[in-house]
């Protein structure tokens, strides 16, 4: 179920203030954050965030297309890269 419109989008206050401060100073260094649930607002565009995924901080450069998504959507939390192909014998030989 989507969030009630009455409340507006969820924005992490602290993060927002930090972004504004940086914009004012016209600086663009990466902002380390754990606020994965924070919605990306137009003011964030052009900034880089280091979004925690539970283990490391992933680099997320915010573009215009990302507005309306959450920061966490761009910092993946799982590492599955797919299954190996071929049979066990082929893998042992090192041909794959």
């Amino acid at each position: 179920m989507p969030r009630s419109l009455k409340k507006g989008p969820y924005i992490d206050e602290k993060l927002y203030r930090k972004v504004e401060k940086l914009t004012q100073m016209d600086r663009r260094e990466p902002i380390k954050t754990w606020a994965r649930a924070c919605t990306i607002v137009p003011e964030f565009v052009g900034h880089t965030f280091l979004v925690h995924n539970g283990k490391i901080f992933n680099n997320v450069f915010v573009t215009e297309d990302m507005v309306g998504h959450k920061l966490g959507e761009f910092s993946h939390t799982r590492t599955f890269r797919g299954h190996t192909t071929g049979t066990r014998a082929q893998r042992a030989k090192g041909s794959i």
Partner: protein, 127 residues
């Protein structure tokens, strides 16, 4: 067979059913379109006059996104998700369910036909 928005719609079905052969027109939209055109939905498509058909065509063309345009916009939305490298885009790229469904079992619509893995538990028992 009458044509609306570049698609043939079946003659011998009630018009409210026929309209649904257009991509982007389902039961609800069909009713709304007919209400706007003031046409009885039970009338067969081949019993409609030229005027009525033209009227339907204009209503659909001006107020509804159907067929190619709709298909393109859906594809663009998905392409956008992929381009920004969001979680949803990644799921689309991998051909896995996008909305958080389980994948340990089921999810066959997205994953396609089962790919049996040799040596996995239960494979011997199947023989």
């Amino acid at each position: 067979m009458p044509r609306i928005s570049g698609v043939d719609i079946p003659d011998n079905k009630p018009i409210r059913i026929s309209l649904r052969y257009l991509y982007g027109v389902g039961p609800a939209n069909a009713q709304l379109i007919l209400k706007e055109a003031k046409i009885d939905g039970q009338v067969r498509a081949n019993k409609l006059t030229e005027d009525q058909l033209a009227q339907l065509a204009t209503i659909i063309d001006s107020n509804y996104v159907v067929e190619g345009t709709l298909r393109r916009s859906v594809a663009q939305n998905i392409a956008r998700l992929r381009d920004v490298r969001s979680y949803r885009g990644e799921r689309h790229r991998r051909g896995l369910p996008v909305r958080g469904q389980r994948t340990k079992t089921n999810a066959r619509t997205r994953k396609g036909k089962r790919k049996t893995v040799a040596g996995k538990k239960g494979v011997k028992a199947m023989k």
